[in-house]
Symmetry: C2
Subunit: 514 residues, 2 copies
């Protein structure tokens, strides 16, 4: 087997964190902005986000949820309710205190002391309270329910340590907020959103996830139930990729979301909230990326197919471009995964080989090179990003279908790539979940000696609560572990709790996490 | 002719400003949020914005422009360049000075004095400078040009007086920023964006606009040329609905956007910027709204057709809903204006008449009511929102096509409504532009005595500059007038300048404006 010269300098196996940064840079997904903790999302990265938005928004609308837009700024008073119950309340949030800049007389600028706000405004870390206020205005009668709203927006959390896509001061997200007549309606919506996230992750982003309920200690503050989808990164760590909360009447009580029920009584609504963020892009990188850069699943790729004519700055180029343009048109007329194929004919100036490697690093699912020889023979040179290398020769694994076969076969090829990426990730994850650990020593041994990327362990527990749960959390924390969730559809418990020695009641996933 | 009882309390002819507020409320487009100058955009209003985004974004992408996302926060230093050249610089902007809230010990919250930012951050009023910084990093060689970027984002300008959609502290917009090798390339892009805005306004929003160049005094600071599209509201005032700027090398110089040209020389780029905002929704209200509420052009309507079964809370309802569902399906299979028809079957609880008037006020283009009698006869009762009243009877002008005729005719009907709304607005505007005013006295007389809503006047001028222009601006200001633009395609000048008495060189539009 020949030596393969990969496109990145850092390998996943050597330094996963460094590799992650290199993929983002090499695939031109995003970059540091110079503003603390804020990134610039570049066209290829933002194009992926637009695909996430488009596909998820279709699902959101199909469920009857309506998009709204709420203010960026939230009055301080909206947070005092929360602060009343918290000893030593302190929250990292961006606070607007002035509404004018003036010259300081020394060549610089300062906030104008004359333009200090009477009440500072907070840049939304979430819109929970301001949407709650609106719901209290909008809901009068049972006829107004369910009230199903969603917002696509930017939010700000003043993070001390940031990492692109995973944890940034400003990030993009959607937040669903719904109000219902009763517990049943709200629980049904909580599960609908969770299932929507699972379907988005698995069918669109090709990310295998495990959906389940979070343990008590991991609940969103004020939630009665918090559910999540969890994905395994290639370093074996878990990443929470979406959450859905059943909030009972807690938030309705705080915001005064009441309705006149069918019997004429004033009744509190049951509410839910659910969200996903640009961290989904981080998850896609860490699940699908390889030592040559990003691999974008076809459903998420802004360009699914990139055609690169091998231009030579000669008169013959015109014929080659025409040949490629015919191919582009033929491919654009094809469908894959229920949509028209998105194909780019890249005629930007530059060397063909350099452009090929740019698109490899970006992770375009299919790259098609066409040279003069190809044109003469009526063929194209086609590369699958998910099967880049010929292991025998150590060279890129080009195939050379006829131009017609290339265009008519493109739909099936893209669908195959979509499913291959999912299957590869699922198989890798499933192989990295141990289910045979029954003691704390075994657990510690696995994570301390189970290799560099030890994956997840599914164990049985007695579902302790309160102080007993806190003790478990502390013991796990010493191993840098957390309980991810109680997987839906896990086998019933039939053993003993690893932590308490009591009879187990359910199975939980334990892992290191982002 | 019978008396028509309109759905709103205020008529356009009586109090246009009050009418505008009432439409927004009655059509459920938006509401005050309780946060100073910020509005909540409700589902029907946000749905219209989503349509604007979708249709304009398709045009933006078709032109090869790529969407990115840049940070919400901009360092103070980015504004000092600007401030250096301005005596008594003072800018209304939201300034973030702290990154933490803590309890004040008296039940309230305060910005933590320990968490004061070393350098305050400004909430973006525009992204000109931060995108300029990115362009300076991204552009190296002529091969990187043109660089065509766009951003959909929220921005904040601390406005003293706000009005929903027209002038709010926070608003939503798109901002295009492009860099080119030379003047020709940048000018071409400036005009492409302007023409795109004209097409969006006229073809999508059914807003007739006049595209033209702004006079020197109305240029965006730093721009070499500023172009706009101007729409006439029903009170005769002008509203600038989009702008496109050719910035020369001014911004490239300030931000250091240079490239190695084809001869190997370091050269400054020529840049452009262009933007439109949620104020487009305000324009649609003031152009298309009537005394019964909003009228949404079919291309922009989240629901183009609303079907209202006249439910009676009786067992027969099921058959009626089934009859309507068949109609909904048949309509959803039709196309209008190049897209599938967007149809809603509204089975929410509530009295049919009340729901009809809700949809009239919202301005759904076609409302279809179906009662038991209609079902028996195989017909539906259909209402065109743009031709709501039977003038003879003073009643809503229902027609009763067969159910089949209704669905097969819906595409043509929606297209007719789209064009009728445009034609109505264009005819009204054209009738309200005078071109026969040749003296300042005539101009003053027209605007002082030309009726409540005096419209626009096109006059000839000598295109004064500098102090001479300032004098003209002052004289117009005394009449509350501004120069809107120099219309593209206006007749050549053939007379004398109204202001200077010199030979005229071009024609300009003069109007009161929002």
């Amino acid at each position: 087997m020949s030596q393969i010269r990969h496109a990145l300098d850092v390998k996943r196996a050597d330094d996963f964190a460094q590799w992650y940064q290199e993929v983002i840079s090499a695939a031109d997904l995003a970059e540091e902005s110079g503003v603390r903790g804020c990134m610039v999302i570049k066209p290829w990265g933002y194009g992926i986000w637009e695909r996430i938005q488009r596909l998820m928004d279709d699902r959101i609308k199909a469920a009857g949820v309506q998009n709204c837009y709420f203010p960026l700024f939230i009055p301080l008073a909206n947070f005092t309710r929360e602060a009343e119950h918290v000893e030593g309340f302190a929250k990292e949030m961006a606070v607007v205190t002035h509404h004018r800049l003036i010259a300081d007389g020394k060549g610089g600028l300062i906030p104008d002391p004359e333009a200090k706000l009477e009440e500072p405004l907070v840049v939304r870390p979430t819109s929970e309270t301001i949407i709650g206020d609106a719901m209290a205005r909008w809901v009068q009668s049972w006829r107004d329910l369910p009230l199903l709203t969603n917002q696509w927006a930017n939010v700000v959390r003043w993070e001390m340590r940031t990492r692109m896509f995973l944890r940034t001061t400003e990030f993009l997200w959607q937040e669903g907020h719904t109000a219902h007549e009763d517990r049943e309606g709200a629980l049904k919506e909580t599960h609908r959103a969770l299932e929507m996230y699972r379907a988005c992750a698995e069918e669109d982003l090709a990310l295998p996830v495990i959906a389940g309920e979070k343990p008590e200690n991991e609940r969103f503050p004020g939630a009665v139930e918090t559910w999540s989808i969890e994905a395994m990164m290639q370093d074996g760590k878990a990443l929470q990729a979406g959450t859905s909360h059943y909030l009972g009447t807690n938030f309705a009580h705080a915001a005064g979301i009441k309705y006149q029920d069918r019997e004429g009584q004033q009744t509190l609504c049951h509410t839910t909230s659910w969200g996903t963020t640009t961290r989904l892009i981080g998850a896609m990188i860490m699940v699908h990326g390889d030592d040559d850069g990003m691999r974008v699943p076809p459903r998420m790729a802004p360009h699914q197919v990139v055609i690169l004519p091998m231009l030579r700055d000669k008169p013959e180029d015109a014929a080659l471009v025409a040949y490629c343009e015919e191919l582009r048109e033929a491919i654009a007329g094809q469908s894959a995964l229920g949509e028209r194929v998105r194909v780019l004919l890249d005629v930007k100036p530059g060397k063909a080989a350099a452009k090929r490697w740019d698109w490899v690093r970006k992770g375009a699912p299919v790259i098609i090179e066409v040279g003069g020889r190809d044109m003469e023979n009526g063929v194209v040179s086609q590369l699958r990003r998910d099967a880049l290398w010929d292991q025998a020769t150590g060279k890129p694994a080009f195939t050379t279908p006829s131009r017609d076969a290339c265009s008519t076969g493109i739909g099936a090829l893209l669908e195959d790539i979509q499913h291959s990426l999912f299957d590869e990730a699922r198989d890798r994850r499933d192989a990295a979940i141990r289910r045979d650990v029954t003691t704390m020593d075994g657990l510690a041994d696995h994570f301390e000696n189970g290799g560099k990327y030890p994956g997840w362990v599914e164990v049985q527990w007695s579902k302790p609560t309160g102080a007993a749960l806190e003790a478990v959390v502390e013991r796990l924390k010493a191993l840098k572990l957390t309980v991810r969730n109680v997987p839906i559809g896990a086998a019933p418990a039939d053993g003993t709790c690893l932590f308490t020695g009591e009879p187990a009641v359910e199975r939980i996933l334990v892992a290191r996490a982002y």
